[in-house]
């Protein structure tokens, strides 16, 4: 079986939506259409859940939010250091 090129066409709205959610469609398309769709759907759902919480007047616990952001910042930093060391 020969290997063929697959062309993916997306409209501007989807491109803008993906970009706003931090999804790189060009990179993701190289991995396969199913994963692109799944990743984008999950990110849209996550954004929707956060928006719903805020629209409903939900109040974040500042300490918990700060702790979560601290952990994630540490992870970004640690992975960057380890990659350079490797």
């Amino acid at each position: 079986m020969s290997k063929g090129r697959i062309t993916v066409t997306v409209d501007q709205a989807l491109l803008d939506r993906a970009r706003s959610l931090g999804v790189n469609l060009s990179a993701a398309c190289e991995r396969g259409i199913a994963e692109v769709t799944e990743t984008l759907a999950a990110r849209v759902e996550l954004a929707r859940q956060v928006a719903d919480y805020e629209d409903a007047g939900g109040v974040y616990d500042d300490e918990k939010l700060a702790r979560a952001r601290q952990v994630l910042a540490e992870v970004h930093s640690a992975l960057g250091v380890e990659r350079r060391a490797g």
Binding site: G22, A42, Q49, L65, V71, L79, R83
Partner: protein, 133 residues
């Protein structure tokens, strides 16, 4: 995009709006290997919150290659630990290892010691970070 894999203990955290907000802001792609659900689902109405949180995740199934990879990791850890890590934990790290071939991966778990032991034997362990939520 960095990937965040959650084990069953971290799934509880995902139900907290603070963690959903922070993970979204940080741009993580959320992944829950389906085998993890066997540790959290009860089949009862109380699963409603769990199901809502799961909608924001990707949930890759366990295939044969993944099962073999998990078994190899678990076997490699056995001589160094008083007890072997659970098969589910090994599957989570094997999934992280596969994703780490092309992305940075964060594993969120309350059982850091077992996961670090497994990560040490992962081929792409340098691109995996294990943290407690």
């Amino acid at each position: 995009m960095p990937v965040c894999i959650l084990d069953s203990t971290a799934l509880d955290e995902l139900s907290a709006p603070e963690w959903r907000r922070a993970l979204l802001d940080a741009g993580f792609d959320l992944v829950v290997p389906t085998v993890v659900l066997a540790e959290r689902s009860t089949g009862r109405a109380q699963d409603q919150q769990l199901r809502a949180a799961l909608r924001a995740t990707r949930r890759p199934p366990l295939d044969e290659a993944g099962a073999h990879a998990a078994g190899a990791l678990r076997h490699a850890v056995v001589p160094t630990r008083r007890r072997a890590p659970s098969a589910v934990d090994a599957v989570v790290v094997a999934a992280a290892d596969e994703l780490a071939r092309r992305d940075d991966v964060l594993v969120l778990t309350s059982d850091v010691a077992d996961f670090e032991a497994l990560r040490a034997h992962a081929a792409n362990g340098r691109r995996i970070a294990v943290r407690r939520p």
